[in-house]
C-alpha cells in the first residue's frame, strides 16, 4: 500500500464521517463545524488531484468565508436546535430508501459498467498551478469572469435589500 493510497483512504473515511456528523448533529453549530472539517479534507483531495489553486480557494472561500457566514447566522437567529416536528411520518424512511437507490446507481455505473476506467495519468508539472489557471481565466474565459463579478455584486445588493429595514417600518 503506497502512502498516497493510505492518505486517500483515511481522508475518505474522515470526509464521510464528517458529512454524516453534519447530517445527524442535533446542534446546528456542530453541523457547521463538521462541514468545515469536510471542506478541508476535500481541499486535501484537490491537492492530491493536482489542483493547488482550487484547494486554496476551497479553504479560503468555503471553509473560511461561507462557513463563517453560516455560523454568524446560526448564532444570530439562535437556531441551534429546533424542536423535532414530523408532519410527514413516512418521509424519513422514504428519503433513506431513495438515497440508498441513488448511491446504488452511482456504484453500479462506476464499478459494474466502469464508465471511468483505470488509473490516473501523470499530469504535467505546472498543471493547475495559479499561473496557468490565471492565464486561461483572464484570456479565454475573461467574459464569464466579468459576469461572475456582476453576479457577486447583485448577490451583495440583494442580501442588503432583503435584510434592510425601512425607515418607517416598525
Amino acid at each position: 500500500m503506497t502512502l498516497e493510497l493510505a492518505l486517500f483512504l483515511i481522508l475518505a473515511l474522515v470526509a464521510i464521517a464528517t458529512a454524516l456528523g453534519m447530517l445527524f448533529s442535533r446542534n446546528a453549530v456542530y453541523s457547521a463545524l463538521f462541514l468545515v472539517l469536510n471542506f478541508v479534507t476535500v481541499a486535501v483531495f484537490y491537492l492530491l488531484l493536482g489542483a493547488p489553486f482550487i484547494a486554496m480557494s476551497q479553504v479560503s472561500v468555503y471553509a473560511g468565508a461561507i462557513m463563517v457566514l453560516f455560523l454568524f447566522v446560526i448564532m444570530l437567529l439562535g437556531a441551534e436546535s429546533l424542536p423535532p416536528s414530523q408532519t410527514l411520518p413516512w418521509q424519513r424512511p422514504l428519503a433513506i430508501a431513495l438515497s440508498v437507490i441513488l448511491a446504488g446507481e452511482a456504484g453500479y455505473l462506476l464499478f459494474v459498467r466502469k464508465i471511468t476506467g483505470g488509473i490516473v495519468p501523470q499530469a504535467i508539472a505546472t498543471f493547475g498551478s495559479p499561473v496557468t489557471l490565471g492565464r486561461t481565466l483572464f484570456s479565454k474565459y475573461l467574459l464569464p469572469f466579468e459576469i461572475t463579478s456582476v453576479l457577486l455584486l447583485v448577490a451583495m445588493v440583494g442580501a442588503i435589500v432583503l435584510t434592510h429595514k425601512e425607515k418607517g417600518e416598525r
Binding site: 480557494s57 476551497q58 447566522v73 416536528s85 438515497s99 452511482a106 476506467g117 457577486l152 435584510t163
Partner: protein
Amino acid sequence: MVPVSWYIALSAILFTIGALGVLIRRNPLIIFMSIELMLNAANLVMVAFTRIYVVLEGQIFVFFVMTVAAAEVAVGLALIVAIFKTRHSINVDEMNSLKG
C-alpha cells in the same frame, strides 16, 4: 496512484449524504449546508475528471461554481434572516405561504 473512480465513488457518497440531508432535516440552515455539500461533491468530480483528461476547463468551472455558491449563500441566508424577522420561526414545515 489512486484510481480516479475511487474519487468519483467518494463524491457520489458525499452527494448522496447531501441529498439525504435536504430530504430529512427540517432546519433550513442544515438544508443549506447539505446543498453546499452536494456542490462540493460535484466540484470534486470535476477536478477528478480534469485529472483524467488533462484539460484545465474543469478547474475553471469549479472556480465559477465556488463564486456562484458564495452568491447563493449570501442571498439564501439573507432570505432566512428576513423570514425569521417576520415569522419568528425558521422551521421549513411552517413556511407554506409566499406572503409573510
